[in-house]
Subunit: 299 residues, 4 copies
């Protein structure tokens, strides 16, 4: 295990990143994917699925706070939360900082959960033992299809829709229609939405375009995730409530949790939701609708 000193990740046809590799902590395969836990020099312990960085010790707080807190603070006292994916448990950890009634987490791959619990315990930080949590090992799409008008917030925390990969059909118009029905009237969803680097914008803008076919309000936002070596996109979508009209609410509500946060505050919120000109233009002009029968061909 001492033989390798660099870990390779290819982020596009044209870019390869080598991370120094201090240790391979775990390497295995589940029925769904390769799962590796490594320790890199810059980012500490890292979870990789099918060779792609998912979370790193040094900056998982950025990704997970950026994913969870905008939707939780903009929605109206959400009580029932659904997390699709999120096997590391860190999304769950952030959700549990709110006085919610119930959070259902639907994760396909139990091996990811158990591996993360064992080797990355700070990620979940005991969240799986909270009595408000219900963990379901299932395909998130089939679970959501069966659910109507129930969840106040749905958080989609899945790997990218690589063809043949497990999250292939969780970024399509048909899927988002199911999500819409599973939400309560005032419900809101958020999904991680891929890289927004200039050389790699296509997936992000297509997710936004697709959401706009389904939801009346769609707000994309961006923050840089160091271990992804890219500015990362997220998309908030809601059925009835215009998120822009709720921003004032954040100000009061953030007080109750801000001490427990390392990345997110009002400035971070504002920074994320102000997109530069070329990204706004790309969203208007370059996206296309992702459908079950015409998914994205992915790197």
């Amino acid at each position: 295990m001492k033989n390798c000193k660099w870990y390779i990740e290819q982020t596009s046809e044209d870019e390869i990143i080598l991370h120094s590799l201090k240790e391979i902590i775990f390497s295995g395969t589940s029925p769904y994917q390769r799962i590796e836990i490594i320790r890199s020099g810059d980012f500490g312990r890292c979870l990789l699925l099918d060779g792609k960085m998912q979370s790193a010790e040094a900056d998982e707080f950025i990704y997970h706070e950026a994913l969870v807190h905008p939707v939780m603070l903009l929605s109206d006292n959400a009580e029932r939360i659904l997390i699709a994916g999120g096997g590391e448990g860190a999304t769950l950890r952030e959700v549990l900082k709110y006085p919610i009634k119930e959070v259902v987490m639907v994760e396909l791959d139990e091996v990811v959960i158990n591996t993360a619990k064992k080797y990355l315990p700070q990620w979940s930080d005991g969240a799986f033992d909270d009595p408000r949590v219900r963990l379901i090992i299932d395909d998130a799409r089939s679970y959501i299809e069966k659910t109507k008008n129930y969840f106040d917030v749905i958080i989609i925390d899945l790997p990218e829709p690589a063809e043949g990969g497990p999250a292939y059909l969780l970024y399509t118009k048909e899927f988002y229609e199911n999500v819409k029905e599973a939400l309560t009237e005032k419900g809101m969803m958020v999904t991680q939405s891929a890289s927004t680097s200039i050389n790699n914008l296509r997936v992000f803008v297509s997710i936004v375009t697709t959401l706009r076919q389904v939801f009346p309000y769609v707000k994309p936002y961006i923050t840089y995730v160091p271990s992804f070596f890219a500015p990362w996109g997220f998309s908030l979508a809601s059925k009835k409530i215009n998120p822009e009209e709720c921003i004032s609410k954040i100000n009061e509500k953030i007080i109750s949790i801000e001490k427990s946060l390392k990345f997110y505050d009002l400035d971070a919120h504002n920074s994320m939701f102000c997109l530069p000109k070329h990204i706004k233009r790309a969203i208007e002009t370059e996206g296309r609708v992702i459908r079950d029968d015409s998914p994205l061909s992915f790197y």
Copy 2:
């Protein structure tokens, strides 16, 4: 020249990036540095100095608009501008979009200017021929030392202060004191301020800390530059005018130039100046003063 297909750039002890290399357009050395023009698959033509990416065709507009427009719009009808470095000519191009009287550009390495003019003509886009421009081939520090109370805006567009490299002494407290004296009373400066990635924050926070020793108002800001694979820091500093009190001015003044911009608008401005919590904390706690006799030891 067809033999190499990947270009290697090491951004830290622990991270290596390989860019696909379509063509080596120019490779040479000046008395100061290695200069290469390559074409990469993702970023088009790129200028590299001593093996480090300086500007890329695909996204130089982000870096140069982020560097130039905040300081130009926040300052009060600046008429006399100094650019230290900026050999590609793109910073000059952006400055010339304003109705200024005079811009002095002090660049050490004439070979960089001539190489960029020849192989990257869109970067300067004819700016060197503008009658308001005075080009001086000299060390920016010694030029600035000789100048008192003259420039309304000073823009510092230099490579990182690698030990033994040409920009070594252009990030120190002593240098910033010279800059302060070269500015008019209402003058403002801006400097590129290195990566703000979580694994690489030290230089950025030290530049901010050092500027705060010299200037009463210092405003760091950040935007992601795709070809640097990092969120990039900039620092604005002013003698008398609080930049925060001038933000309303941007709104009116931006109208006159916004059509010529691809990245910068009010949203981009707001996004850049809102720093997330962990960056603000790092600025308060981790920086140190850079001095002529205790420069940064650099990767």
Copy 3:
């Protein structure tokens, strides 16, 4: 699984090789090591143990013919053969080309055998079904310790002795003393003996030096293995028979099998056993004895 396009292998502190990666066919872990089957552009299907190339479709014939045929042809009508390691089954395949009575193969890791059978069937080519074969899943050292004066030929086909890896104690003086006792009087052994590249000679010369402490006749030899990107060492050792006096025998005996060989013939034999001056000098001057309590510290 489509995300990675390059496979990384570090062959020393100072050298990294990237192989194009067309497909990850299998990735798993046994109790002893990580096991991967990939397809590279140049070498076809490859078996990797703990990230190190063991065998590649394009050139496994070179390694396996070089390992097996010299010892089989130089020894005197060997009837009982032991293979230590050799999980892919290709060493077994080559041994079975001779009219032997019995071949015992002792491999620690059953998962390697089963993975190779499934994904690399041409490697063993049915060899495991031959009635002359006895497969034992065990540590080769403990098996050999229990065996006295039985085998005519012992072939040691194990990964390098990485500290903490499974083959750690199978390159020491104590182990070779056990091998000597397990051989018949006219018996001969051969072991793969690591890279002989100029920057990496230490392990090879130490294996030769160690064998010379135990056996009266030791003949190192070398051939280039393309997928290892290095000239590879092997060492033949015998108790009573001087291999150099047997070379004439090869001439006659090779006729019976030469049609089934792709690499090995008399020329290949001669080329392998003639070492250049600097390698001979290194063997005389640079080796040291490897012992159970002073193993090699390995890259």
Copy 4:
């Protein structure tokens, strides 16, 4: 210059090698090529032309002794020698170990010679000052075209025939016909002949095939060059003398120079000239004739 820690070399579409980079000692361009002198961790000072390794401190003796001594010892008291290329001066250094009358060295690129003299002085070791040496800065092909029946030995020490590179037309049938005429009746030539790795054999076998169209005797041979990460081919060709009938001569003549050699001796000679079965088969079946109007398309 301290920023880069790895040097990249791509040896085929499917293989990339990273060498640790301790220092960039020189980087420049001549009218013909990029020239770099670096120091790598494993190989010491290295000369690179257009990004390809030409010679390394740690093992240049292997390449240069393998190139020079077989042809010098097999030919009959050669007195007039021509070296085509060989800008580092190390081929010249080896040739001058013999009691020759005259050696003409024709090198296209004076910058290579001067750079090597300055930064790699042990390569030539004073050879350029020997009174028997005549250095001509010219294209070797046009020099050889003008020469008839003059040289006893011609040594071709040029980079690979990359399309558009300076050695493009120095591996064709037409060129070898000129070489043949420039040789005396008992004359012999040798040329470096590219990699013989299994994934990269095409150039080597085509050079051998092409030489066989021109010369009655052609003897390819191979030795591993560590810094090329490949077994390297050479080809000896002669007009009248069968090299195989001269091998006995080596035995006597080698005594006079063997003390000054580090790689080459009788064993090394025998090892190099015995090709394994798959290489012999490739030579018979896979080569094609290289002509001025149908050169090799090269990686």
